[in-house]
Amino acid sequence: MNKQLFLGDEAIAQAAIDAGLSGVYSYPGTPSTEITEYIQNAVKTQCIASLQAVWCANEKTALETALGMSYAGKRTLSCMKHVGLNVAADAFMNIAMSGINGGMIIVTADDPSMHSSQNEQDNRVYGNFAMIPMFEPSNQQEAYDMVYEGYELSEKSGYPILLRITTRMAHSRAGVVTREMKPQNPVRVEKDAGSRYILLPANARKRFKILIEKQKEFLEASENSKYNRLFIPQPPKGGDGQQNAQSQSAKLPLEGKGVGIVACGLAFNYLQENFPNGFENPVLKISQYPLPKKQLLQLVEACDEILVLEDGYPVVEEQLKGYLGMGLKVHGRLDGTLQRDGELTPDKVRKALGLEVVSPYNVPEVVAMRPPALCAGCGHRDVYEALNEVLKEYENAKVFSDIGCYTLGALPPFRAIDSCIDMGASITMARGAADAGIFPAVAVIGDSTFTHSGMTGLLDCVNANANVLIIISDNETTGMTGGQDSAATGRIHDICKGIGVHPDHLKEIVPLKKNFEEMKKLIREEIEYPGVSVIVPCRECIQTYARKARNK
């Protein structure tokens, strides 16, 4: 048995390759990035020439491209961070209507506790919304197996599968046993696909009825899934049912039949951690959705109360409790048994079980916060230094920024930006603020974010001749996620010109100390121009630059 040490992300990637993957289409986003990177690397080192592994302009173009490949009968994968699925949601919701041909797995990597994100949305909500089957692995081996076997389930049912992982699963390593590599599917367009990919209302109505009908099949798959397991402990022998003082059993109210525990995905590990000698409460582990009704009924039958342990939102808890909370007695994130926000941990689970968490040592007061910062020598630094200098001359200047390394311009010593909402919102917010009378209204966006979601906003600005200055701080890569190819590299000038930015107000400069005065002058001039100006400070990311130098 050959075990390999894989990150959760790498286990997913290797499983997809082994399952006969023909194409992965993604946009980088922590914590999902390593899946596509691993496959790209495998294509190079293992010479799997027929496998496409590419970064797309954004998550929506990625998912739609994957659908095209699935339409042609081949197995596809599309990976994104949780907020990426918002971008791809239009495609996602409608792929659930059309269904798929070649197997399709969509990975959503959620980020509870917001290690590298602007929210902690739980994309199991999307899975329920689209009414498709969903996996939530509890460990790296399960992640591998779910993907390896998931393609069969996807093809058999004719629907995509949403694989939900969290940061912890994505970025934790464990030994994984791999299986033999299957051949890729040939091109095989369905002859009888009929009109299912043409979602005109008349067809879509039919497709929706079919999707509703399919729910029974999805539920059955979930109830028969090896990933969902019910543990009913044997009653203690010879005792009168009283709890042993040394026992590790949950100390929640234990009158009557006691507490049953539902543990989803990783939460199951945290529960196990607290019961090293086996469970003393009935436990239902859930790693496949829709919720397995049969096992839930059995659990409820065996208990009076339910404790739900899940990472992210109280998705399962809400479903079990019902809106009015008048039926089953359910504990979890909604009643305060667990903290409502933040990543689940073994400590939080332990407290929810009524067990004590003991730390012999505290964090000494001397320990200071150490937030991340822009790297020394980074071009974004030069941009912010110049911008800050010029904006001192204006009383009401506002800087709308975006998602990327340059968001770190919010922190000292720069404190240079006033907003960071979502991919592309810098340009559109600047325009709205300018319309409202803010002057100067400046947008700061990175190159990759610009081609991801900034171009359409720029077109809006041009059409309205909005009085905005847009700085596209170009480091020729997708920096924050570790330096993946940027769809924008070498194209920004032509894109801006094509969208209609006046060539006299489309300026480029190299953000270096020696150009500091020139950069200031440029920024000042373009702020004073009453219309759309774009400045592109362009210098390669020092991380990718250093990496290239090392590899030479």
């Binding site: 040490l5 970025h171 030994g175 945290y270 073994p346 964090v363 200071a368 390394c405």
Partner: protein, 195 residues
């Protein structure tokens, strides 16, 4: 047998290479392990940590519970202290003594060292200086790993194999340099304890 290890440092210092060597050696040894690491935003000069759990039984949680780490290995003295709530009462802290000051409010170094006085079990070494003296300034993380090796549940020669396997791609010279750093680190730890 179960050993819970917290690795700490500042983004870019190289804690993930230490984790990779230990992990490789553990898997080679047929042990179970889970290792949770930090990627993304914090890697830009922020505080980074990795939870490494090794056992002869399957490991449940990817994260170490509070009060149960056997050892904290840190490339930065203040960073080790950040994770003290994870440490067992009789756990060890093995840390670099050289501070990494990339924040304006970095505390007074004497106050940092004062906090160590409360800890019964610690090894504090300037691994950067040791690595420099060896002529291989980039191997300070491996010196630290060597210094922590007496507290790990893995035979020393298996750590050496881990080094060979992790650094093998970079050539024999890099492997030899890191093996030397590992051995010197282990020696310094023993010296430190003798004192």
């Amino acid at each position: 047998m179960k050993t819970d290890i917290i690795l700490a440092g500042v983004g870019g210092q190289g804690i993930l290479s230490i984790a990779a060597v230990i992990g490789e050696a553990a898997i080679e040894d047929g042990l179970y392990m889970k290792q949770s690491e930090v990627h993304g935003m914090s890697q830009r000069g922020g505080d980074v940590q990795s939870h490494l759990r090794i056992s002869d039984q399957p490991v449940a949680s990817d994260l170490i519970p509070s009060g149960s780490a056997d050892i904290i290995i840190s490339l930065e003295p203040m960073e080790a202290l950040r994770y003290l709530p994870y440490l067992k009462k009789d756990g060890w802290v093995v840390t670099n003594s050289k501070s990494f000051e990339n924040i304006p409010n970095y505390p007074d170094k004497e106050n940092v060292m004062e906090a160590y006085r409360l800890l019964p079990n610690k090894v504090i070494l300037n691994v950067e200086q040791i690595a420099k003296d060896l002529g291989t300034p980039r191997s300070s993380n491996v010196v630290l790993l060597g210094a922590a090796s007496p507290y790990l549940p893995i035979d020393f020669f298996k750590l050496e194999n881990g080094i060979r396997s992790i650094f093998g791609k970079k050539g024999e010279e890099v492997v030899e340099m890191n093996l030397r750093a590992l051995r010197v680190g282990a020696g310094k730890c023993i010296e430190c304890l003798d004192r």
